[in-house]
Symmetry: C2
Subunit: 382 residues, 2 copies
């Protein structure tokens, strides 16, 4: 949906404007008459609007996502009878600004030049993502959300929703996310961007007429992928097993299973993701710091803005947004006087666990939603 | 010292030969008449033979190391009255095969072609390093070592010494090392090599006449450097502080302190290290697996070869060779019936702690050496 035209651009949080702005989104379930059964699902770094599979309305919205013919990235959680029950709730997922799956981003054509924005795309923030989502909801006539939910960078959008629009969010559910990236996380992002920007094919971001900076983006993805798993999980999944052989051949090509896996992750990512989007999104992740923005550096002060019920769920082996960091956020919410539920799910799957530990995640989502004190709509059956 | 000539090359563990072989080494202290006061110090990935500073004998051995005018990398531990007391012990440190600090490696000239080996350099292993060190010691007339000590890849050489030459090693001291790299560690090494080998300047390893693959090597180093620190340590050292500014400027250049630090680490490494050496050394690290080599996959069976007293020291925040992995080695030694001392030093410095936690490391080294039951030589005073 186009939420802004070129002659009415969106002012951005850290300066500049963007217009036109198109937002790719998908919906699942039916909007109630009172429009009071809406759940906003926010996706993570490499995600898209296609959160659940095979929904007729989703297809009507264009289905431009690369995954249009695949189940959505959270299909295990969203659907009839599932934790985010589409018999009851109207679920929306919006691809965010700067991404490359239908929403305006650096690979979009800048109407002023007739060429892709590339590195001239303005810096966008988690705050901008949330603001653009709010404009979309305005157009749909949705004032208040039952909940905003997401994992990782999606969880940070949930946090931002709670802080920026306290009266529009009855609750937020934050998975595998804390309010800011650690120094270690900043470091990993910096290395990934270094790989992309030093790939000669990057060409200052103006590579759309030629080959993409594939090896730089692949390196960034391989590296990031390690941070999404856990040491224990990688040990269990790969160990030191060799790839299709009993003895090593002693060379620099793939020898170990884990090398083959990472190589595949890197190469397949290059085919579906834009390198400039990777730069902009990781930078938004770096900058996100609601304590700074809303509390002058004090997270508890920031959390005093909240009017939502908050659930924070961490995963025991997540070392990108660690349980400790997630707990600190839950504590800040509690100190600010808002109701908060915190849980840590035991898992070997590291940061990716929010996508993988379906049963335990569903249990948390379902019981939190069931316990919300707001007036829930009745089920919209068939 | 040249230990092999071209017409008498060294046979290598996984095939092929290498000759001539020059080994750069430095010594500290005085060799006793019985030649029974020798400690072999083994260096880690980016180290060299210059383990301690300002020693006259070290200078006599050529002083070709890049650090010849700097204190050695373990100067805090090696010297008169220090933990590795050069008033008592004769300390030797040897730059290993494949490195770029004086010992024969891929940047050395292959006499058969008159050009640097580059990617034609044969694959060398931790076993080859130890075998070449043993040949050097043969030439010096040193049969038995008081101890072999090292951290990280240096610790793995200590393990290999104990297993390969049980009768030559009265003891081994293994710091921040386990007998094999984890799947996660294999993954990080693979990404680092991917960055180097996909840098167009790499040119299949034959870059010595042109620019080196600097951005690839810098990326590999930045990445590896994150794995040498700890999340807690990076938080304490950098947090999310901006570099020389109060507010971010919102761009892709350096904004955060941690970015500046990693960038500096990458760029300075490029000036002192050879990219091919990085490939060969990380591959040797990948392949090292003494359980496989000496015990058909059973670490305890391998450890039954040991005739040494063993000390294993881990560091609480080391996530490259974790305390858990180090403990597993200590347990295998114990199960094999060899005497073993295990300690875990609390530290925020991650894997680098073996270089940084001087006081605690020195305490462990000193007390272990003092308790050795072998006949220690008297002090050789000036």
């Amino acid at each position: 949906m186009r939420i802004r035209e070129a002659d009415n651009p969106m002012p951005l949080e850290v300066g500049g404007t963007l217009g036109p702005v198109d937002l790719e989104y998908e919906t699942y379930g039916r909007l109630s008459r009172k429009k009071d059964n809406v759940i906003l699902v926010c996706h993570a770094l490499s995600g898209d609007a296609h959160a659940a599979g095979w929904d007729a309305e989703a297809k009507n919205n264009g289905g431009r996502s690369w995954r249009a013919n695949h189940p959505g990235w959270w299909d295990t959680v969203i659907g009839p009878g599932k934790a985010l029950d589409t018999d009851r709730y109207f679920v929306i997922c919006v691809n965010y600004l700067g991404s490359c799956y239908g929403t305006t981003g650096p690979s979009s054509v800048n109407p002023a030049t007739g060429k892709p924005y590339g590195a001239s795309f303005p810096m966008v923030t988690v705050g901008d993502w949330v603001r653009s989502q709010a404009e979309l909801l305005d157009r749909l006539g949705v004032e208040k959300l039952v909940t905003v939910v997401g994992g990782s960078l999606g969880g940070q959008q949930a946090i931002e929703w709670g802080l920026r629009y306290p009266d529009r969010t009855a609750s937020i559910m934050v998975l595998a996310a804390s309010p800011r990236l650690s120094a270690q996380g900043l470091g990993f992002n910096a290395v990934g961007r270094y790989c992309i920007m030093n790939d000669p094919a990057y060409a200052g971001g103006a590579y759309y007429d030629g080959p993409a900076p594939a090896s730089g983006l692949a390196a960034a993805r391989m590296l990031a992928h390690i941070t999404y798993l856990s040491e224990e999980g990688m040990h269990a999944k790969f160990g030191r097993r060799l790839r299709n052989k009993a003895h090593p051949d002693f060379h620099f090509d793939v020898e170990f299973e884990v090398e083959s896996y990472l190589s595949h992750q890197g190469l397949s990512f290059v085919q579906r993701f834009d390198a400039n989007s990777y730069l902009y999104i990781t930078r938004a992740m770096d900058y996100y710091d609601p304590a700074q923005h809303w509390g002058k550096g004090d997270l508890t002060a920031a959390c005093k803005r909240l009017r939502s019920k908050v659930m924070v769920v961490s995963f025991s082996s997540d070392w990108l947004y660690t349980p400790k960091q997630c707990r600190e956020f839950a504590w800040a919410v509690a100190r600010a006087g808002a109701p908060v539920t915190y849980g840590e799910i035991p898992s070997l799957y590291g940061h990716d666990a929010f996508l993988v530990e379906t049963e335990q995640v569903s249990h948390y989502l379902r019981s939190f939603l069931d316990n919300l004190e707001h007036d829930r709509p009745k089920k919209n059956k068939g």
